[in-house]
């Protein structure tokens, strides 16, 4: 998620995260309430216009993020086309495209810290019940930090394997990868401990 954040600062970056997430929820619900292709096509165009308002570079970057969607959209459209429900296919494809593009827009223009702050606020009733919500928000940040690291570990192991073997590593790096992940978990625990661990009586994400 974090790698998706746009390096280009746009007007949308300056809108509070809570407002953006609320608008996103409302608009997504609205997209699911209509079945008319014309309305959905207009909505999709509106989302594209939204991207454009942040600049062409931003639009191009957004399109790159959504590129992996094309095969799915195509599949949905084809399937429905073959089963004689072309209109339903177009409706579903357009709806998915508009909703995901909108979500991606919010992700690209909202800092993780701000998302976490909103989440902390949403979770605040739980905190009043005495549940340690700081651990939840910390956990989310860590998943975002360590997912790319896990992928990198895998790539590094594969490289290291290929440097010393003519064959591809395949499943054989699964065990060392798991071992590395456990090792990493140890290190994070130590890193957290080095900076005080999870203290519950300190200010949370709200300002």
């Amino acid at each position: 998620m974090i790698s998706l954040i746009s390096p280009v600062e746009t007007w949308a970056h300056r809108i509070p995260a809570g407002a953006k997430l609320l608008a996103l929820s409302a608009l997504t619900v609205a997209l699911f309430l209509t079945d008319r292709p014309a309305v959905l096509a207009a909505a999709t165009l509106a989302v594209i216009a939204l991207y454009l308002s942040a600049g062409t570079a931003f639009l191009r970057q957004g399109a790159r993020h959504l590129r992996m969607l094309w095969p799915f959209l195509l599949l949905i459209a084809l399937w429905h086309g073959l089963t004689g429900q072309a209109q339903a296919g177009i409706v579903i494809a357009l709806r998915l495209l508009a909703a995901l593009a909108l979500a991606n827009f919010v992700t690209m223009t909202t800092r993780l810290t701000d998302m976490i702050a909103v989440l902390t606020w949403v979770l605040s009733p739980l905190r009043r019940l005495g549940l340690p919500t700081r651990a939840v928000t910390l956990a989310i940040a860590m998943v975002l930090r360590f997912t790319p690291m896990l992928v990198e570990n895998g790539q590094r192991l594969a490289l290291s394997w290929r440097a010393r073997s003519p064959r591809r590593p395949g499943w054989r790096i699964v065990v060392p990868m798991a071992a590395l992940a456990l090792d990493d978990a140890d290190h994070v625990a130590e890193a957290l401990r080095a900076r005080g661990g999870i203290l519950n009586d300190i200010p949370d994400g709200r300002n």
Binding site: A141, H187, V188, A191, G197, I202
Partner: protein, 239 residues
């Protein structure tokens, strides 16, 4: 101020003694730790920072046991790990630096402002939103240093902090360290980085075999390293 106090420290890992009978009272502003691979330097750094409690003896800073009192440790001692990937917890640079500050009790906005100020101090303001996993190894080391220095600990323990830094960054950082009030305990393999230090500890096989001013310790250390390095018998290699 009483500084770092190590009394007869012993650490055993996996049934093997890794540190034995290490005693030193460190009050000097700049202390270097040297020794070969596997001599116990990192383990000693962990003991000083309170990340491991010694199996024997006592480690204290300003009279407080850092392993037992983590809250005191937060204000007293910062540690920079040998491997920055083991230290970075957060997905973005700004969050990584701000985290320690919120842990110290600062409000998120204030912590963020202080984190930005730290980045600006090193001319790295533009790093703030960057993904930590996308930084180069040396950039990660610099980030770890900034994250710890921002917390203004009384004692900064650094485990080979400059190994991946380019020369300008290293010089800039050393100059910055000259200017801070914190006591610095630095592990390094390069005696050149210990110029201007007040005291050197030399570890060998988990024991303190020399302890004194650089003029007294470093020439002997270098001569010994060269002698061992000149041997062709690989049995003398560390470990």
């Amino acid at each position: 101020m009483t500084g770092v106090e190590l009394r007869d420290i012993g650490v055993t890992l996996a049934g093997r003694p890794v540190l034995q009978g290490v005693s030193a009272r460190l009050e000097e502003p700049r202390v270097g730790i040297v020794g070969r691979n596997g001599s116990g330097k990192t383990t000693l750094a962990r003991v000083i920072a309170g990340l491991v409690a010694p199996d024997a003896g006592q480690a204290r800073i300003d009279g407080a046991d850092m392993a037992a009192d983590r809250r005191a440790a937060l204000a007293t001692v910062g540690i920079i790990f040998q491997n920055p990937d083991h230290q970075i917890i957060f997905p973005t640079v700004l969050e990584e630096i701000a985290f320690g500050l919120t842990q110290q009790g600062q409000r998120p906005r204030a912590a963020e402002a202080a984190a930005r100020a730290m980045l600006d101090r090193f001319g790295k303001g533009h790093w703030a939103p960057a993904a930590t996993h996308s930084l180069s190894q040396g950039q990660k080391q610099l980030l770890c240093l900034m994250a710890v220095l921002a917390m203004r600990p009384r004692v900064v323990v650094m485990d080979e902090p400059f190994s991946g830094l380019d020369i300008p960054t290293r010089l800039q950082l050393m100059r910055y360290l000259d200017g801070i009030a914190a006591q610095v305990v630095m592990i390094t393999h390069d005696p050149g980085q210990l110029r201007g230090f007040d005291r050197i500890l030399w570890l060998e096989g988990g024991r303190l075999i020399a302890d004194g001013p650089p003029d007294a310790v470093l020439p002997r250390f270098e001569a010994q390293m060269r002698e061992w390095g000149g041997l062709d018998d690989l049995a003398h290699l560390a470990g």
